[in-house]
């Protein structure tokens, strides 16, 4: 538990579980879609076989096309499972050394459906430079995901959310930029949670607005043992 300035307690464990549930529900929804397509495609093959029983020949090209569709969905499913597996391992140890861009790329993929549903394009732009950080990966994922959630507010203006990372003398920096965030109680409470979570990993968060865009700057010390 943590006590911020307004006296309300933040239950980090509960928030962590909610976050885990949100991601898992979204990923399993996507997997259900994949399974749904595979099931119907297999059914289509079966329909063609029934057609043969009634004297309708099967075209080889059609079979190739159907097989290609199945392979494409299997590849998609494998990719989704890999992403979920990567994410699930972020709770293995409270503090560990990891490659920051790999974690961010995975998170951008996991958050993609949330952005799509709000008609927002979410993009990760990462350089080849390796940013190794030692911190709590699960807390960092929560922080970045909340920033993405705030940034994917539907707007008529520039609806792109871009996530980048860079190395600075103070540590690794994650920049998230997107359309303006509405000023309401939900935003306030999320900002409070962000500050508290960043405090746990001894990191820093700055929020600035410029030219109808908002900028989250998260600084993670290269070695940050959780308090």
């Amino acid at each position: 538990m943590n006590m911020p300035a307004d006296g309300k307690q933040i239950d980090f464990r509960e928030h962590g579980l909610t976050f885990f549930g949100t991601i898992t529900a979204s990923v399993t929804h996507e997997l259900n879609n994949v399974m749904g397509i595979i099931e119907q495609t297999a059914g289509l093959l079966d329909d063609l076989c029934v057609g043969v029983d009634y004297g309708r020949p099967i075209e080889i090209e059609k079979l190739r096309e159907i097989s290609g569709r199945v392979v494409m969905q299997v590849d998609r499913g494998v990719d989704i499972i890999k992403r979920l597996n990567f994410f699930a391992h972020s709770v293995d140890e409270s503090v560990r050394e990891f490659e920051l861009n790999a974690l961010l790329k995975n998170l951008v993929s996991l958050a993609q459906r949330f952005a799509t549903l709000k008609k927002i394009s979410l993009e990760g732009r990462f350089n080849d430079f390796e940013h190794t950080v030692k911190t709590n990966p699960f807390i960092l994922e929560q922080v970045v995901f909340i920033c993405i959630q705030l940034a994917i507010t539907p707007t008529e203006k520039d609806s792109r959310v871009i996530l980048t990372s860079q190395q600075e003398s103070t540590g690794s920096v994650i920049l998230i930029t997107g359309p303006p965030v509405p000023e309401n109680d939900e935003t306030k409470s999320k900002m409070e949670l962000l500050r508290a979570l960043m405090g746990l990993i001894k990191g820093d968060i700055e929020l600035t607005a410029e030219d109808d865009r908002i900028y989250f700057k998260l600084t993670v010390p290269n070695i940050s043992n959780e308090e």
Binding site: A25, T28, H29, E30, L31, N32, N33, M35, G36, I37, I38, E39, Q40, T41, G43, L44, D47, G51, R69, M72, Q73, T116, L117, K118, K119
Partner: protein, 143 residues
């Protein structure tokens, strides 16, 4: 199942493609759209026996789309087919007027049964409406 007319609404294009292909081999007439607003446009000028509707979609979710569709045509039968099923959502959908709620992956034959039942219900509603209209006319004429 000839003479059945179905609208598929799902942002998973590959899913609507394969489902439409299977339904068409059974003689059904199928239209597919990827968003709620496109479904609303289709229902304005076409009478469908059933609309198979996804729950989570960009632009407009399934529940909101259903409300618009029922406003345009109160007889249209809506079957939710979603990968994001919860009991709470299913109850909400049915309370608001959905014919039924199914979860992906779905058995094709079960889906066809639901479409068949939905068409029967639509015909019953249409029959009742017609009966009431005739009664009203006869009443006005004092017969």
């Amino acid at each position: 199942m000839e003479s059945y007319k179905v609208l598929l609404v799902d942002d998973e294009e590959e899913f609507t493609n394969v489902l439409a292909e299977r339904m068409e081999t059974r003689g059904m007439k199928v239209d597919s759209v990827l968003t709620g607003p496109s479904a609303i446009e289709r229902v304005k000028d076409t009478f469908y026996d059933a609309v198979i509707l996804d729950m989570a979609m960009p632009e407009m979710d399934g529940i909101e789309t259903m409300k618009h569709l029922l406003k345009i045509n109160p007889d249209v039968q809506i079957i939710f087919l979603t990968g994001k099923a919860t009991l709470q959502k299913a109850i909400e959908a049915v309370k608001l007027g959905a014919y039924d709620f199914m979860e992906k992956p779905v058995k094709f034959e079960s889906l066809l049964e639901k479409v068949d039942e939905a068409k029967t219900k639509k015909m019953e509603l249409k029959g009742k409406r017609e009966e009431e209209r005739i009664k009203n006319i006869l009443g006005k004429k004092g017969w």
